[in-house]
Amino acid sequence: MSEPVVEMPVDRKIDISQMKVSDEIAIQITGMNKWFGSFHVLRDIDMTVNRGERIVICGPSGSGKSTLIRCINRLEEHQAGQIIVDGTELTSDLKNIDKVRSEVGMVFQHFNLFPHLTILENCTLAPIWVRKTPKKEAEEIAMHFLEKVKIPEQALKYPGQLSGGQQQRVAIARSLCMRPRIMLFDEPTSALDPEMIKEVLDTMIQLAEEGMTMICVTHEMGFAQAVANRVIFMDQGQIVEQNRPTEFFKNPKSERTKLFLSQILGH
């Protein structure tokens, strides 16, 4: 693992990690279990996320981090327990799934942009076909968010013509165009070259400042320290430890967390 790439500027106007979090519950997971065949990937997960909270999930590879956040928008199905997103329980009811998916945005490690569509079309597709937004309006919204991630000039290009960092920012803009209330990030910077990581993290920080509810699987500890109000450490499909970032990094309680942190921070 490399050194954390972002060092947070001390003079940021808002100290995000001190930002207020509402009492309203955005995501409630209780007693959730998941198996892949006979393999028990997620064990008794209990987790509550309040609106406006920014949570970083870390843990060794294969510990089930991706599976956990993919359960939140039902890209994976859980077999036991309860997941309630924005008041809607995830069951096999397709209506609920569609409702949750249109409320929850997701950003993937490998961007997953649609290569046959332009950047603008990537961003307007879901608003037009899912939200039934008129095309012109959808394009205005898309341009607004593309400006926000600082690449409006690429709107008419195809994803293959953009750098990795630019593609990931487009992916973020594409999710935002659906006006989600919750954003999930699955290792959004792991496939990027070091010099591009910062531009993506900056975009995410900006989102955090605006009060977006975020769950990020990431190993960027600098980001976690500056943005998160809770860090969750997972190992072998379980939540091993969770704490405020300052305590989490200074004072890890469990041995596994200590071991993991010493490995990831490269000491």
Partner: protein, 432 residues
Amino acid sequence: MSNIEAHTVAYVRDTMLPEQTPPITEKGAVKWLRENLFSGWLNSVLTVLSLLVIWWALAAIGPWLLNTIWNAGSLRECREILDGTPGACFAVINDRWHQLLFGFYPSQHYWRPTLAFVLLLASLAPVLFTNLPRKLLYVSAAYPFVAYHLLWGGSIWLPVSAALGFVAGFVAFVFARRVNGLLAVFAAVLAPIFWWLFLAQPFNAGLSSVLPIGLEFVRSDRFGGFLISLVIGVTGISLSLPLGILLALGRQSDMVFVKSVCVIFIEFIRGVPLITLLFTASLLLNYFLPPGTSFDLILRVIIMVTLFAAAYMAEVIRGGLAALPRGQYEAADALGLDYWKAQRLIIMPQALKISIPGIVNTFIGLFKDTTLVVFIGLLDPIGLSNAIRADTDWNGIYWELFIFIGALFFLFCFGISRYSMYLERKLKTDHR
């Protein structure tokens, strides 16, 4: 490790070197010749050999082709004009081209298939070239009914009532969609079936007696030549693609019943020679169909050819689907697109693009396979070449007929192939 530090003296370049033009031996025709034709002794030998072969072929065929007789009433007459020198007798084409194109279609009605062909090109244009106005697609949608009436004739109300079935389905869909998506699908399927089964007949009969208009009826057994190849080929091509897509999706489906039906269908059709299916169409179908139904032979052949091509198409498209990364499905899901929207907007455009070479292969194969219908007694161009030879005038003529037929087939297939290359270039959006 015993690496000696190489940088003992610091070196800093302060002026960058300008770009220079390449030396003269690096451009022009000489360079091209040297690099491509005579780059080594093996390449040089192959170049010389190839030139020899080309020269030999031209020397053999050239005089025969150049010394062509275009006007003669029979092969004997041709030979008299040639008087022993080698020469081609394309007079047979001049004499019989209308048969090769139209079969035994009544000659006073030749304008009908000709117009149908011209309209075919016109209605294909908006489908093939997306920069044409999208409204023209309505013209394309009407084409099958217009073409049917032009080719077969009969009462105009038959194709009209058939088309109205689709209109009924569409209208029912639009209205039912306001209530419920699933209901809309049912309505879209049931409304046309209801129309065709119960209402089309009286509608047809009623209007035919009140307003008996329409072109003169031409029986299917008068069809022949390229007319038959095109009717079967074009219908087969345009039906096998959507059917193939559905089969490919069915094969990937989670629904066990749908999946097994598709798998069995595909594997069965692929395991059986086309000629067997054609014989089935010509002989056996009569046993399965209710007695008294006379089912047009051309229609039966079209069904069989379509099913055959669709099975191959399904496998080609499945290959395209398999080549798509899982992430594309996940991104579509995560954005809230439902199955059909995801398929239509994200998955299929990419899968079809990947499969273009395979799809075109299947199309071309289907088009050329239409010549197999000669074995069940339909007079496609090959069948007609036999018929022409059976005439004492042209007994013994082979090459000229086959060259003509081959050239026409080549024209169509080459056109399809060129178009597919254009399409691939146009759709190439990744890694430019």
